[in-house]
Structures are given as structure tokens and as C-alpha cells.
Symmetry: C2
């Protein structure tokens, strides 16, 4: 071996990789054995192709990395080229492969940064969304797509109490990677960022996590309460996103005939970064916390009930004629019953970005270094106008939980229907508009 | 059941919990079954008591939450009271219990916020450290401990290129929680924050993660390179922190006769928050990345070699008499050989705090939203003066990697020796100084 960088050395694991089914790219670059994911358990792979995008009905992974992008492209064709590349790379990465096949040219920028080499696919899903800016930006129809903007892809109204930061709000495109390993999720988005050079650039990003919760249990959020109990029922097992799910879930989540053709089988995603004054919460009496939420903390049962899945019983009164679950309780204001049947599917993560200096908005108006932590609220629905917006306009005014929460980031995206093998994300939109 | 809040309802799972060995606190509060960690696998519990604190020799968990505190106390006795409470709560939490036994008084602030109820202990370790401010602050001997300040607990010098932010630097005390679940780690620190009210307050905090890496493999960092290959050898299996580890590790990490009595079996922790210009790195050719690091990316082998564990061979030259591993390569400057034998044990995590506006410090001086991500570097040693400081003074000037990195947070803590059951963290310090 004379060349100190080992160029030209044969890729010693090629044979092994062939035998392993070719799931992982083979490369002979840079004088060393090529990378390989050694434990590619099929159970750790979520389907990428199908009638719906992954990451929505998918049993929730423990980590997410969510990013939005501003489009820089002057031509629609540039976006199509990028979306083709994104689709190909996402399909590869969801099976544990590198974003592109690793070549044998170490003097070039490698087609994958390598941060997930050797890791499990970790049930990676990548969910793409289109923001209003793809269709119209500052009044301009930049890409000839304005006529295709769905009526449901509104500009979100300003809600009571909103303290939105531009650097955590909006975006022309969204990419959400979810995986059971934070490095797998972050790696996936980074590789897509690389494929977007000159066409789209990162606008903001947020990582999130869930605790490892036994199957069938509702995870607790950072307030210590179970979060998601009242979601529309669907199987929480690891069934593929393409499987038939109970109708309640389908009706709430997937766009049907009412939407534009390219949105059928898709869903609208609302993202809200909700900072929680955990210091304040942690100094709050247990029974007041339970009144604020409307549930018992430990069991998750509605106030006065014993089972997490017991009916809320919003009509129940105590001996003095007061509602058992108060008028401003979080679960009442978030219930379908109190919102003319409005529902959405919550797929939220907790977030934890350390600590920063903050002045609390509520008594006793503490100031100081506080947790920059809370809920990265994500929900899916067929039409945000009749679900999230309708529900949150009242919650933002009346929810007792608002004493502890501040919404400082926000975005709405149209997540197109699923991707058939051989096509690219949003192809039906771009073909329709040609 | 007449009381809507269900007070007075007998705790229905008391019998079950008794049978389960009493690992989890029993409570009959608030009208619902009390919480219980259902899957308390003994294998998920790291020992808390022993000659060394956990979280140092412990096989590295996948998540960390690190916090530092400013002391508010006017009396030393207040600190002792808090450290007793911290020790008791940490011991309980490391076995999956709540920070304190849950009572039956819902009108009070509960002795645990509940965010980890039902979760696995997740190999939680909690590692305490004492900063210089415990001994002397602004020239004041606040607690009569100044004479006990170890010579090794220096004020870190300003290193070349440092861009330290006060809100990520220093602290009178440190608490590091490590666990295989991010919510378990965060919960543990939050509960200690609650026990510190009036005595110490949060100064800054940082969360971090590692990929799930197969046993025996060195995890890759966000630059795609294996990180930690040259650590002093010790078993990477899940053996308890109290087990005998190979002497090389012991010699590098644990303070012996040279330290003050209360530091014996302890270690000095240097923490550095290192933002990495990943956008810049991701646009760098593979062979240049490898020259910067001094290793091949995929195999982890030293340049020109084939095995990750091959000797660096720093003396090797190419055909033209140039060193194979360059003078400014990261591995050369970080090697014991190039630092008169100086060594430390690296126990770093990656961090990912989303994105923020940044101006790069290097050509082509990009400005914009960039990943706020990088390495939360943590290392342990018997004396930082002859290990981290000695090594990093040269690295900060010459390391080729500096083109991509910015140190914006920093701290040094003396982590006392382990805790014997019935005592509290640092007891030997506080008793000595009485």
C-alpha cells in the first residue's frame, strides 16, 4: 500500500454487501472498507411508497427533526428537479441507505455526509409539505402555480396571545423526518438540504422527542399529563401507513374528493412551537393542574372518572351545579363536542432547547434563565379552516392552559398524497399545472 | 363516588405495588390509580451508590441533559440541606421512582412533576459537580470553603478563538443527567431544580444525544466521523461504574492521593459547547475532510491505514517526506503522543438546537439561518491543567478543524468521589471544612 490515502484499494466488503441484498450502497473510496448498516432489521423500515406519505399514520417514532425552506429558484423546473432528487434520496434513506450511492472519488464532495452510516433505518419517515409561498409569494405567482393553491391552504390568522418569531414561522416547503434515532432524523434532513443548494434554503428547524412509552400507552408530555388520549382512534401498532385504518382516522386526516386532485390522500399539517413555562407549572398545586387540564394527572381519566378512555362527560355537574370539567379546561375546549365535531389528529413532540432568558407573561412575572422547552405541536387534518383554526380560535382566548404557554412558531403546509414508485413528491401538482 | 375530584378513593394499586417490591412510590391522590413504572427491568438501572459517581465510567447513554446552577444561598447549611435532598431524590430516580414519595394531598405541589411516570429507569445516572463559585465568588469566601478549593479547579484560560456566551458558561454547581430516554434525563434535572428553590437557580442547560450504535462500535458524530476511538481503553459493556476498570482508564480519570480527600475517586469535568458549521462541512470534499481529521471517514482508520484501532503512526511520511497525518490534523494535535502523554476521557454528545442566524467565521463567510448544532464536548480527567488545558491550548491555535468549529460555551467542575449509602454528595468536603 503505497498511496497514503489508500486510493484504489478494492472495496473489501463488496461481496458481503451483495450477499446482504444490496440494501446499502457499495463504495471503494478513500482507502477503507465502505460503510454498511449492519443490523438492517426489516422491522425498522417504514414503507416509503404508497397512497399516503409516511410519518402521518405511522406509529409515532421517538424523535423528529422538522425543517422549513424558502424557495430561491427562479424556474419551476428547478423545483421539479430538486423534488425528484429529494424523493430518490428519501426513498433510499428510509431503508437505511446513504442519500446517494457512495462513489470512488474522494476528491469530490461525497453524496452523503456519512452521519448515519452503520445506523439502523430506525423507522425513518420523511414527510413533505408545500406552503403558501410555493403558490404565491408577496403577491407574485413565481412558478405558475397560483391557480393550484388549495382553498384550505390559508394564511393562518393571528391568534390571541400569539408571539410568533419570524425565525420560527412559515416557509415555502417543509420536510419532517421522524425516526427512533435523533441522528437518523437529523441526517435525513441535512442530506435534503444539500440537494437543495441554489433552489431552496433552510428557514427554520426544530427537533423534538417523545419518551419511550410501552405500546398501547399514551405518552406523557413535559407537563406530566398524557397527551393524545382523545385522538381519533387508529391502530397504534406498527402497521404500515398504507394499511387500512379505521374510518374515523381516515375521515379526520386524509383529503378526499373535496380537495384538488394532487392533495387526495394527503393532509394539512399545522405546526406550532409552544414554549411552556415549566418553572411556573412545576410550582402549581396538583389539583389546580388537573383543573386546568380537565383530567387527573396520574390516570389520565377525565376529572371525577377513573379510566383514561372514559368519556369526558362534559355535561356532568358537581353538587353545586358547577361543571365538573370547567368551562376553561383544556380538554373541554379541545374536544370535538365543544367544536361542532371539529377534529384533528395530533402527532406532537416535546422539545428541549436548553434554557434562555425569559420574562414570564403571567404572575408572578418571574424573569431569568428558564427552560426553552415545551411542545412542538403538530396536527393533521383534511381542512384546517374547520379543524385547527376553528378550535384554536376559542382555545387561544379561553383555555386555562394559556397561563403557561406561549406560541412562538407557526406554519401550515399542504402535504400531498403519497408517492407511487417511479414518481416524485407532488408530481400530480406540477403536471396538472403545466 | 360523589366527590368529583375523587378524593378519598382508596389507592387501588397499593397491593400490586407492594408485591412488586416497593420500587415505586404509592399514592392515593387525586381520584385515580397511582403511577407505576411497569417495566422496571433491572438491566435498565445503573448503580447510584459506590466509590465513583455514575455517568463517568458508565457505558454512555444515548441522551443527556446538562445544567449548571448559580448559588443563591447565604448559609452553607442551606447548601448541605439541598445536597442531601438532591442525593435522596437522585438515588430514587435512578431506580425509576419519583423524586419523592407521592402523597395523598392534591392541594399541594406534588413532590414529583410526573413527567417520567411509567417510563423505564433508562439507565439514568446523575453526576454532580462543584464549580469554582462554590469556593470563591467575586473574591468572596461565601461559605467558608475557600481553603478547600482544589488547585486543579482553576479558572479556565481564554483559548484562541473562544466566543463564549455568558449564558452558556460557568456555574457554581453542575448536574448532568444521562439516560437512554431524553424525557427521563430532563425530568431528573427538573426535579432537582425544584428541590433547589431559594438555594440555587438554573444558569444554563444543554441537551445532547448519541446515535444508537451497536455495542463495541465507536459512534459517529455529526461530521460523519467516529468520535472517541482514542479514548483510554475501558470496557464499553454495561458493567457498573463501580467495577474494576483497566488501569489506563483509572489513571486518566480518577483523582487519587494527589487530590484533596473529598475528591478521591472523583474527576474533573470540562464542558465545551462547540457549534459546528455543518453547512460548511457538508460542502467540503471528502479527502479534505479526511486530511482535517487525520482519519479515513468510513473505516475510522488513521490516514493510510485500514483499521480503526490501528496505531496513528504519526511519524509516517509520504514519498515526498511530508507527514501522512498532517501537522494540523485533529488527531495529531489531540493525541497523547503530541502532548507529552496528556490524556483525558471523552464522553461527548452531539447537540441539535434547531437553526439560528449566523455569520460564518471562515471563507466564504456565509450569513443566514444555519444549524445550531455541533458537539457538546465533555471530558473527564484527574487534572485539567495537564490534560484538557495543555492539549487544547495548542489545538485552539493549530487544529485544522477550527475552520469549522466555534466554542461558545465552557465550564469546569470538580466532580467529587462517589456517594456511600446514607451520605450525601460532597459530604466529605462539607465535613472537612466545618
Amino acid at each position: 500500500m503505497t498511496c497514503p490515502f489508500g486510493h484504489g484499494k478494492p472495496p473489501s466488503r463488496r461481496a458481503f454487501l451483495g450477499a446482504a441484498g444490496g440494501l446499502v450502497a457499495v463504495a471503494g473510496s478513500s482507502g477503507a472498507a465502505p460503510p454498511v448498516a449492519k443490523t438492517l432489521a426489516q422491522s425498522a423500515i417504514e414503507p416509503f411508497w404508497g397512497p399516503h406519505q409516511g410519518g402521518i399514520a405511522t406509529h409515532q417514532q421517538t424523535h423528529t427533526y422538522f425543517a422549513t425552506f424558502d424557495l430561491l429558484a427562479s424556474q419551476r423546473a428547478q423545483i421539479v428537479t430538486m423534488l425528484r432528487a429529494w424523493t430518490a434520496a428519501a426513498a433510499r434513506m428510509s431503508t437505511g441507505q446513504t442519500a446517494g450511492p457512495l462513489g470512488a472519488e474522494p476528491a469530490k464532495i461525497a453524496p452523503d455526509g456519512g452521519a448515519a452510516i452503520g445506523l439502523s433505518p430506525a423507522r425513518l419517515t420523511i414527510t413533505f409539505g408545500f406552503g403558501a409561498g410555493l403558490f404565491v409569494k408577496d403577491g407574485q405567482d413565481r412558478y405558475g402555480l397560483a391557480a393550484q393553491r388549495p382553498a384550505s391552504l390559508v394564511d393562518l390568522p393571528k391568534f390571541h396571545g400569539d408571539q410568533l418569531e419570524p425565525a420560527r414561522t412559515g416557509g415555502d416547503l417543509s420536510v419532517q423526518a421522524c425516526a427512533d434515532d435523533p441522528q437518523v432524523a437529523f441526517h435525513a434532513v441535512r442530506e435534503l438540504v444539500r440537494l437543495a443548494y441554489g433552489v431552496a434554503q433552510l428557514r427554520w428547524a426544530q427537533s423534538g422527542f417523545l419518551p419511550s412509552t410501552p405500546p398501547g400507552e399514551t405518552p406523557r408530555n413535559l407537563m406530566g399529563f398524557r397527551d393524545g388520549t382523545n385522538n381519533p382512534p387508529h391502530s397504534l401498532s406498527d402497521r404500515p401507513a398504507t394499511a387500512d385504518l379505521p374510518r374515523a382516522f381516515d375521515r379526520v386526516v386524509w383529503v378526499g374528493e373535496a380537495g384538488p386532485e394532487w392533495m387526495r390522500g394527503g393532509s394539512y399539517l399545522v405546526a406550532r412551537r409552544i414554549r411552556i413555562a415549566l418553572e411556573h407549572w412545576d410550582r402549581t398545586e396538583l389539583d389546580f393542574q388537573e383543573e386546568v387540564i380537565g383530567r387527573h394527572k396520574y390516570s389520565g381519566a377525565p376529572l371525577g372518572m377513573t379510566g383514561e378512555l372514559d368519556d369526558l362527560g362534559l355535561e356532568r355537574e358537581d353538587g353545586e351545579g358547577n361543571p365538573v370539567i370547567g368551562e376553561t379546561a383544556h380538554v373541554r375546549l379541545g374536544s370535538a363536542l365543544a367544536n361542532d365535531g371539529a377534529q384533528m389528529f395530533r402527532r406532537a413532540y416535546s422539545y428541549n432547547d436548553g434554557a434562555s432568558f425569559t420574562a414570564e407573561r403571567w404572575p408572578p412575572w418571574r424573569q431569568g434563565m428558564m427552560y426553552d422547552s415545551g411542545l412542538f405541536f403538530l396536527c393533521y387534518q383534511t381542512d384546517p379552516r374547520t379543524s385547527f383554526i376553528r378550535m384554536f380560535e376559542r382555545m387561544a382566548r379561553f383555555d386555562a392552559l394559556n397561563q403557561y404557554t406561549t406560541h412562538n412558531g407557526s406554519a401550515l403546509f399542504a402535504c400531498p398524497g403519497g408517492i407511487d414508485e417511479g414518481t416524485y413528491i407532488g408530481q400530480r401538482l406540477f403536471e396538472t399545472a403545466l
